[in-house]
């Protein structure tokens, strides 16, 4: 067993164990932590596959941003686990059916001819996955790439417009630009008056 293979098995085992942990553990925060571990070890596996850009971006986007917001939401909720577990037996047959169908599909896909190609040779040491990806993304796939960007922008605008609330003019609110631009002369007036005469 080469050293690379050993590393691969370590990361693969951790990925599988943590993925199982995500769905079996009861505490939602632990489940989220296992998901982070699963993302992290899959990123390591991708880097082993010489796809370092994808691996690093997986950590950056999913672990560093998405999971932070995920944890944020989970920690805010006071999740009562008992009601969630009600009807476990009642829905069990349906659940098993779905699981079997998914497992059968995965087995069919993995055992098909698509994955029987020979192992490609390792790239030379100065090969940069980031550059290779950038070159193909901005030449051959430039239109699909830009289309995806536009769709994402539309999604962002939709999300913002859905959660934006119109402020009623009667409610008090702060205008920060105005606050920042105030000068002392706007707020403070120095009044000069004569002292009262003694009686």
């Amino acid at each position: 067993m080469t050293f690379e293979l050993f590393i691969f098995y370590v990361f693969a085992t951790v990925t599988v164990v943590s993925a199982v942990g995500v769905v079996t553990i009861r505490n939602p925060v632990y489940a989220a932590l296992f998901l982070i571990l699963a993302f992290f070890t899959s990123a390591a596996t991708w880097i082993l596959l010489e796809a370092e850009f994808l691996g690093v971006v997986l950590v950056l986007v999913y672990v560093g941003a998405v999971m932070v917001l995920f944890l944020f939401v989970i920690m805010m909720l006071d999740i009562n686990i008992d009601p969630l577990r009600e009807g476990f037996i009642r829905y069990l047959p349906l659940g098993i059916l779905v699981a079997v169908v998914i497992a059968a599909e995965i087995i069919l896909v993995v055992s098909s001819d698509v994955f029987t190609m020979a192992i490609p040779d390792a790239m030379p040491a100065d090969y940069s996955n980031t550059e290779a990806l950038g070159e193909i993304l901005y030449t051959e796939y430039v239109y699909p790439f830009e289309l995806a960007a536009v769709i994402l922008v539309v999604a962002i605008i939709a999300a913002i417009s859905l959660t934006m609330r119109k402020r009623n003019d009667l409610t008090k609110h702060q205008n920060i630009t105005e606050q920042v631009r105030t000068k002392s002369s706007d707020r403070l007036r120095i009044v000069k008056m004569k002292t009262e005469e003694k009686l």
Partner: protein, 352 residues
Amino acid sequence: MDSLIAIWESVPEALRIVIVILLKIVAILLPVILAVAYTTFAERKIIGYMQVRCGPNRVGPKGWLQPIADVVKLMFKEIITPTKANKAVFFIAPMLALAPALAVWAVIPFWEGGVLSDINAGLLFVLAITSLDVFGIILAGWASNSKYAILSSMRVGAQVVAYEIAMGFALVGVLMAAGSLNLSDIVNAQSGGIQNWFMWPLFGLLVVYFIAGVAETNRAPFDVAEGESEIVAGFHVEYSGMAFALFFLAEYASMLLISVLTVLLFLGGWLSPFGNLFADIPVLGFILGDGIHWLFMKAFFFLVLYLWFRATFPRYRYDQIMRLGWKILIPVTLIWIFGEGIAIGLGWEPWK
């Protein structure tokens, strides 16, 4: 001596590589940790002088042993766990805070070729690993089972996600100018004297990057995570002894990292501001030429900026932090990158 070489050569090849790498890691991390200890001392001294006090001056000559005394004190303190705390996460959290803060140093070049791992996606690696820093703080707040701590976690989560975007965009500007993600290449793209450093064409990005860096490390004036006047001490209220010290270590290691990164990306890293002007003069040429001492001096300047901010600015209000991040810093970086893109498109590249 010969017997030592013989012992070394009898060690298998693979093991020898591992030993060398481990020794390099120690050689990088030991100075980092020492620097952290003396940064805390420098902070107390410099802020002391700014406020016309002396700062710590009792332990050792002129107070120079103060950080050692602090470390010893923290080590011997009892670590108290709150009864209702989540024990496992409570102890994992400080380690999760410290590990990424130290792991990033693997790709930081200190001089020409002086880097542990010279990977070609270095800048991305830095961005990815520093984005993990926040988990330690968030989990610490949750595991403590305390209202103040969880409030602090919420603040940190929102703040870090907001400022990471501005930071990432500032880095995009740098990699467009340098044409590489490798940190050594980025520094070498700035060679040829002070006028070639990226701080001139990318001045706006330098300012945004450093402000975002201060916010990322939760330092004053963006230290709402600790906000003594509002939420006691934030995420580490329930921590004591070494567990607390790990958070402290992580925060200062991140401060050092942001200072060094700012220097590498915008101020030419280890490059001398004079270029090759004095290369022919024997001793002076060595001192005024490129070298790690320039990196230290420039990084020290930014470290002092951190302390200066803390001594000068009152704490930002939370909603104003969000406004600064989303409505000012991100648009500034976007406009700057847009202008830079046009400049590159027209072939007008002043940094070359």
